[in-house]
């Protein structure tokens, strides 16, 4: 299957401090890839780097969108891609909507920018899009300001905004984190339905392993700016090979079986300003050995889109 997005060895540094280090993955046409990891693991920065929206950052590596190397595109071409064929949904719908503009104006903005739609045309289309993402009474909601909508409706509005021009790839950065569980499910249903209808690639950034397990074909696990494990979601989540992935899964409460204390991952993500000789997870890893702290750990591929970054990868089931 051809890739709508191919990321190769992407690294991002701010003032010499590397926060994303050699990230590689691909999103197939119409496919869903989940990127998981704790806060500060570099998930959102990776997405913003792909869109070239990080000011003051030094970005190396390659990101190919439909075969085009995004780093080499002139800014005007890149701007023409953003929102039209390559869109992003931001984490917090309250802060990613302009509080001073009506919802209809904001959803219509990409249409006005890319399609040259008039104000009236953009507003009509915004109303249709709001209906499409399941917002009740869209004709009234287009005239509302963000603060007049609930969290769920705001997130749907943000999704409608990103989908306005029918992108081929959607980068969704924690699209349901700010929502309660029932609304999360509704919003994800909307995204998946639209993805199916439009054959749109979806990069789902989340720290919710349950959501990723349910919706994604491939999962990319990030830790401290690096991809530590990658593979088919089913395989990675059933038989994690990196102790960090296993730690993430162990910290999820089981819905059935005997009651047991949840296992937490001790410690915190290392400070990117302090260089580490060995594995970045070693200080928190219960299975760490002297070699883990001393020797740099390389990526070991186990398939075309799978691999693990660990000196002593786990074998067998969870």
């Amino acid at each position: 299957m051809s890739a709508v997005l191919l990321v190769e060895d992407l690294s991002v540094s701010f003032g010499g401090v590397r926060v994303v280090d050699g990230v590689s993955f691909q999103v197939p046409v119409g496919g869903t890839v989940g990127v998981v990891g704790e806060s500060g693991s570099g998930k959102s920065v990776t997405a913003l780097a792909i869109l070239r929206l990080l000011s003051g950052a030094e970005v190396t590596g390659r990101a190919y969108f439909e075969g085009a190397d995004l780093a080499r595109l002139p800014e005007a071409t890149m701007r023409a891609l953003r929102g039209a064929r390559l869109a992003m949904v931001f984490q917090d719908p309250m802060t990613s909507l302009n509080p001073g503009l009506r919802i209809g104006e904001q959803i219509g903005e990409p249409l006005r920018v890319h399609s040259g739609a008039t104000k009236a045309q953009a507003l009509r289309e915004a109303e249709r899009l709001l209906g499409e993402v399941g917002v009740p009474e869209p004709s009234e909601r287009v005239h509302a300001y963000p603060h007049e909508l609930s969290g769920g409706l705001r997130q749907r509005a943000v999704i409608a905004m990103a989908l306005a021009c029918g992108p081929n790839l959607l980068l969704a950065d924690e699209p349901t984190t700010a929502l309660d569980v029932t609304v999360q499910a509704q919003v994800m249903e909307v995204l998946v339905r639209l993805q199916r209808e439009r054959q749109m690639g979806l990069l789902l950034i989340s720290h919710d392993l349950g959501l990723v397990a349910e919706r994604c074909e491939t999962v990319v696990v990030m830790y401290a700016g690096q991809v530590v494990e990658q593979g088919r979601a089913r395989d990675v989540l059933r038989s994690p090979r990196h102790p960090y992935t296993r730690g993430l899964l162990s910290s999820l409460p089981p819905l059935s079986g005997a009651r047991a204390r949840l296992t937490e991952i001790p410690g915190v993500v290392p400070d990117p300003r302090e260089p580490l000789a060995g594995c970045r997870f070693a200080a928190r890893c219960a299975l760490a050995q002297p070699r883990c702290r001393a020797a740099k750990v390389e990526w070991t591929g186990t398939g075309p889109d799978s691999g693990v970054r660990c000196h002593f990868p786990l074998e067998g089931a969870r």
Binding site: L53, R82, A87, T95, N98, E109, V113, A162
Partner: protein, 264 residues
Amino acid sequence: MNLRAKVGGAVLVVLLVGSATSALWTRVGGVPDCVFGLDPLFPYETVCSQTLGGLWRSLALGLLGGAGACALALVLALVSRAGGGVVDAFVEKGAELFFSIPDVLVLISLAFVARAVQGGESVSLPWMAASLVAIGWAAPTRMVQNRLRSLDRLDFVTAARALGATEWRVLTRHLLPFAWDYVFAIFLLRVPAIILTESTISYLGFGLPLSEPSLGKYIGDHWRLLTGEDWLDVAPAWLLLVLVVVSFHWVGNGLLERAKKVSP
């Protein structure tokens, strides 16, 4: 807005209206007569007409100078933002360099230039206003630059860029609408600074002509009265100068606090 800002605003309205209409009710022989009587140095004028005329000129210079400085600051901040990189750093460092130049010395130098160009021993009101703009742009430029930079980091601005908005669209629809209240507060805080600077210059004799004094010029011409029995004749000018400066500060700070509070 807080109470002090409201009081300051009310005082400013009274002072503006009072000084603008002063000519109607402070003429010699007019009704009512000035309670302070005739000006000891200029007996054809009352203390009231001189002081209120001075207040009007001080206010006009403060408002013109403040508006000009803030307009220039806005233009420079926009140019630096549009230019980015080197242009941005040039404007920033240029403004910082300007802080190290003493305002009063620049104004005195410009007064000498005015005397050479226009003749006479004083400076015209338009020249003084232009000089005040020339020395007043640096601080507002840095403040507007910083405001636009902090707005630029907001999520909805990044989201607009992620949807393909041009920089012009980002500026006009997502940044400037949230910067105007801040710019207006900066303007209100700039006015008293300019009034005080102009008063100092005029006090030293490098400002407006004797026939059209500002508050500073009036105080400078009448400073000897402070040690004599006519000291009350110069007290209104001092009082008005303090009152107008404090009032602008109260309103400006109130608006600045409000702008920060309602900022997205």
